[in-house]
């Protein structure tokens, strides 16, 4: 009997079909919250190429149709591909010219199907998406991951935001946040990410979508504080350590 020990332990050898992809140019976290009038989303503008921050003006928040806003983290080229798919979807929807337009729930479902089907073909789109919008007074905020995991919630985050921003959001999010309070909350989370996520850059955009429409802010940067006494002279009194 031929022993199968030599093949069993090893993963697929080189030369087989391309099973795993590697992301090349990636964006870091996106955070989205529901507030009183609609959805607020924040993302920074960095595109990292491995461990260098190659691009500093990548817009990762984009409008989809009349009612939705999409934010993506992960591979930027796959994000652009998704935007093409959505473009086609919205175009066909407009061509029907029936007075109805696709809302955030429908777009979210479409994205889920795309992501899940690509994952089943072992050729995923390497993104984590946040989709939010308002239609007929109904606010909707959902998330889809690279393998097709999707859910709907009052506050979502992708990537590092899951670990650093969600605890803050779980503490401090309320149903009736005003616009200013929402922005302050998002900035608090983004500042946290800036301190503790190595691929974050200090240039971010905040997007707001309400029943009336969508606005994506101009890029701006956050104020950071580095003047703790202990940071000035960290080893005073503790000579020999660092």
């Amino acid at each position: 009997m031929v022993s199968s020990q030599s093949e069993s332990g090893l993963l697929s050898s080189e030369g087989d079909s391309q099973r795993t992809q590697y992301p090349y140019v990636t964006g870091t976290s996106v955070i989205g919250i529901k507030y009183k009038d609609g959805i607020l989303m924040a993302a920074d503008m960095g595109g990292s190429y491995g461990s260098t921050i190659r691009y500093k003006s990548v817009e990762r928040l984009k409008q989809v149709g009349k009612h939705s806003l999409l934010g993506a983290s992960g591979e930027i080229s796959d994000f652009q591909e998704i935007l093409r798919y959505l473009d086609e979807l919205i175009l066909h929807d407009n061509m029907w010219d029936d007075g109805n337009s696709l809302g955030p729930k429908e777009v979210h479902n479409y994205l889920t199907r795309i992501m899940y089907n690509r994952r089943n073909k072992f050729d995923p789109l390497w993104n984590s998406l946040v989709l939010g919008g308002v239609k007929n007074g109904q606010k909707y905020l959902g998330s889809v991951s690279m393998i097709g995991v999707h859910f709907e919630d009052s506050h979502v985050a992708t990537g590092f935001g899951n670990h650093l921003a969600r605890p803050i959001l779980r503490e401090e999010w309320r149903e009736d946040l005003s616009f200013e309070e929402g922005v302050k909350l998002l900035e608090k989370c983004m500042r946290n990410l800036l301190y503790r996520d190595r691929s974050a850059v200090n240039k971010l955009q905040i997007a707001k979508i309400t029943e009336d429409g969508l606005t994506i802010s101009q890029p701006y940067s956050l104020k950071t504080f580095w003047n703790f006494g202990a940071f000035q002279n960290p080893t005073v009194g503790a000579e020999g350590s660092w």
Partner: protein
């Protein structure tokens, strides 16, 4: 056979097996080394078997033919890294060893205006199971120094106990209060010597003559000196709270509240942390160990009626027979227990 080991310089044990016996696979032909009766000598049985016995009989046991005193090896001290070679061999064959497990914990420390506050959760996990719902992760190092430990529980306890006793001896020798940098250096050099194999990530805090100090120590032996620090699997959740709310010059109550908030963030947002919050406040000249300062996870559903078990079987008759009457107890003169 049947000779005591103490009386003869060598011991002979042969168990002969025909080649057709079902025990054949276990016989010496299939082992490269067999542990013989004497614990310090390993002999290749081929050398013994081929010269002494017919070819169709194989040895199961091996004799030790030299005087024990001539060839006694002194056992090596410290960690034995023999299995590392085996692991390397397996890894080359394609076996994926389990990656470094950050065992569940949230531990934090912060410096407030008069001293240091340390905090920890109380859950000890064994893979996916909670092994201890209310363990103590804040370890005593010195009257003015405490240390929180994350990582392998045995490693953190052993390392902190060891350094704690070294500190005590040092206190006797010098006649002075221990300093936090002393504990830091002892811990750091111990962990570095073991190259990260002692999986202990520590938050060390205390107040000594030079003031309050807070340090983090990583399993490979690097350290940081910080105004606020978190370690463990829940460290990101706790750090999110610290980064957004820490200020300099916090009062004691504000500091305790912030530490509690950070640990709760770890408890509720990280699966590896849970149960209760322990806090330890160290100031100049005094310390307060607040065990289970907050218990945000009580058992919610307890039957208010208590537990009673219905008496299904009726008792008809009760008869008690002391066994002493039935048995003869004979006292034998001499020692009670001979080993």
């Amino acid at each position: 056979m049947g000779v005591g080991f103490e009386t003869v310089p060598f011991l002979t044990t042969f168990i002969l097996l025909p080649k057709t016996s079902p025990l054949f696979p276990y016989s010496s032909g299939f082992f490269s080394q067999i542990f013989c009766e004497s614990p310090t000598r390993l002999i290749d049985p081929q050398l013994v078997s081929s010269s002494l016995l017919p070819a169709n009989l194989l040895i199961l046991g091996v004799s030790y033919l030299k005087m024990p005193s001539e060839t006694m090896d002194v056992p090596k001290t410290g960690f034995s890294f023999d299995l590392c070679r085996r692991n390397d061999m397996l890894a080359k064959k394609g076996l994926k060893s389990p990656s470094y497990l950050k065992t569940g914990t949230t531990i934090v420390g912060l410096i407030f205006e008069n001293g240091v506050i340390l905090g920890a959760d109380t859950r000890a996990t064994e893979g996916p199971i909670v092994a201890d719902k209310n363990c103590e992760k804040i370890h005593y190092m010195a009257p003015n120094i405490y240390c929180c430990g994350a990582g392998t529980a045995a490693d953190t306890e052993a390392v902190t106990d060891n350094i704690s006793s070294q500190l005590k001896l040092h206190r006797y020798h010098t006649g002075r209060e221990s300093r936090v940098v002393t504990a830091l250096t002892l811990l750091k050099s111990h962990l570095f010597r073991y190259q990260g194999h002692v999986s202990a990530a520590l938050v060390l805090g205390g107040v000594d003559v030079t003031g309050p100090h807070l340090h983090t120590i990583y399993p490979h032996g690097s350290t940081d000196t910080l105004p606020y620090a978190t370690m463990g699997s829940g460290s990101l959740a706790a750090m999110a709270i610290f980064e957004s709310e820490y200020r300099e010059g916090l009062t004691r109550d504000e500091g305790v509240n912030l530490v509690t908030k950070a640990i709760c963030s770890g408890i509720f947002n990280d699966l590896g942390s849970g149960s209760n919050v322990d806090v330890c406040v160290i100031e100049k000249g005094k310390k307060e160990y607040l065990r289970n300062h907050l218990t945000p996870n009580p058992r919610t559903y307890i039957s208010s009626r208590g537990y009673t078990f219905s008496k299904k079987a009726e008792v008809l008759l009760t008869k008690i027979t002391p066994l002493k009457e039935l048995v003869e107890v004979v006292e034998v003169g001499g020692d009670a227990m001979e080993e």
